[in-house]
């Protein structure tokens, strides 16, 4: 017996039981039967045809008008069959796309994963969480000689275009090893790459810094990136870590200003993406002062704990629905 014959038989049984005693139980079975039809991808016009076939068996003397009306119903059902099959095909396609995105997202994770290096003088904490499947924020640590280089970038837009753009940044950075240690020159070089390769509506903001352990100096430059903070332990105060400069990708000839800062024991350099300060709550935007007070609340903890706690509190304030990718990095000088 084919699957179709089995269905026909089952439908005939159910229908004749129902016509004899119109009980809710049989209707319930009918509803369950419809689930089975969907499982077996029986289209609406097939069901009508099944009904006609069964009615012919049960009522061989059915009036001609009645019989013909079923044929008409069948014809009118074709459109639903059309839509049903389109729905199935779109659903298959969507599943396929979703799994492709999953693969791309995990590839991106592997590609861009930057291990937080062990660095004796600094206690480093990082949290970077995407709002959607793919992260538009990028951070990168590179240990070169005795120095530590750190970069944070935010690609405008979210999702796949931003992620693709970020891979470009990563490879451009990898191919500029010499400049890696001079932030303002690194930004100049990256700017040329970005300007030539991105769509005119796109741009990238970036902060790049290098810590030199011998001199305890932090050299840095910024390309339109949301300013971070500098915590000066001696004065117990937070300052904006301002590094002015045009975003990457707007003008080919942009140059960047070099900045430097002495880092003393207990000082902190705090870098972030604008997902941190553009957090929106029901009460409005979170101001930079609030981010500072959150950091202050946890600043006696190890850096990793600070960034995690700050993220959790901001995430909670936003009702656990990130609107933008979120990256927060803290470097604290230990000795």
């Amino acid at each position: 017996m084919t699957a179709k014959d089995a269905l026909t038989e089952r439908y005939q049984d159910l229908l004749s039981v129902y016509l004899k005693a119109k009980t809710e139980t049989t209707l319930y079975k009918g509803q369950q039967f419809s689930r089975k039809l969907l499982e077996q991808q029986i289209s609406p016009e097939d069901l009508v045809s099944l009904h006609i076939q069964v009615m012919d068996e049960l009522f061989p003397d059915m009036s001609e008008e009645m019989r013909d009306s079923f044929d008409f119903l069948l014809e009118a059902m074709i459109g639903y069959g059309f839509a049903y099959r389109e729905h199935q095909s779109l659903r298959d396609k969507q599943q396929q796309l979703e799994s492709e995105i999953e693969v791309a997202a995990s590839m991106q994770q592997t590609l861009l994963l930057s291990d937080v290096p062990e660095f004796e003088q600094l206690d480093i904490g990082v949290v970077s969480v995407p709002a959607k499947k793919m992260n538009g924020d990028y951070y990168n640590f590179v240990k070169s000689g005795n120095s530590l280089s750190v970069a944070v970038a935010d690609i405008i837009g979210k999702g796949i275009p931003a992620a693709l753009c970020m891979s470009m940044i990563k490879y451009a950075m990898d191919s500029l090893p010499e400049e890696q240690m001079k932030p303002h020159l690194l930004l100049e070089n990256l700017n040329r790459v970005v300007e030539q390769n991105v769509h005119s509506n796109m741009f990238i903001t970036m902060f790049h810094g290098v810590y030199e352990p011998e001199s305890h100096k932090f050299y840095y430059a910024g390309a339109g990136h949301e300013p971070g903070f500098f915590y000066h332990a001696k004065e117990d105060e937070f300052q904006d870590l301002i590094a002015k400069g045009l975003v990457l990708g707007v003008s080919r000839t942009t140059t960047y200003h070099p900045y430097e800062k002495m880092i003393e024991v207990g000082d902190m350099v705090i870098l972030l993406s604008d997902g941190v300060t553009e957090c929106r709550t029901s009460k409005g935007f979170i101001e930079r002062e609030e981010v500072v007070s959150l950091i202050r609340k946890y600043m006696d903890l190890p850096s990793q704990k600070i960034v995690e706690n700050v993220f959790q509190e901001l995430d909670r304030l936003q009702g656990f629905e990130l609107r933008d990718d979120f990256t927060l990095i803290i470097l604290k000088r230990l000795v």
Partner: protein, 110 residues
């Protein structure tokens, strides 16, 4: 939140008055109106932002695109009437240095 765009034209001068928010959802609408205006040589496009309370980076990207287009096509693009919040993101991103932004910023109060 939505974005309303009001357009006035005198000869080759177009003034766009924006009200609402420029974000990932409304940015395409702004682009559709503003970009073609910057593509015609000699056009002067003035965008009044005094009614904009919020702009995100995607919105900013539309202005970057319009700036590039005006440079490539010899038209001009001027921004005016920024609120403090909007002005801040133009300042952080360094765009105040490369864009024609009329001084005399209006405060948040309208």
């Amino acid at each position: 939140m939505n974005l309303q765009i009001n357009q006035e034209q005198i000869n080759e001068t177009y003034e766009l008055n924006l009200t609402g928010e420029v974000d990932a959802y409304t940015a395409p609408k702004l682009k559709e109106v503003m970009l073609p205006l910057t593509e015609k040589e000699g056009n002067i496009v003035i965008v009044n932002l005094s009614g904009i309370e919020y702009m995100d980076s995607t919105g900013l990207g539309i202005f970057v695109g319009a700036l590039k287009s005006s440079k490539a096509n010899n038209s001009s693009l001027k921004l005016r009437g920024m609120t403090e919040r909007v002005k801040r993101i133009f300042e952080i991103t360094g765009l105040t240095e490369v864009m024609d932004i009329e001084s005399g910023v209006k405060g948040e109060a309208l």
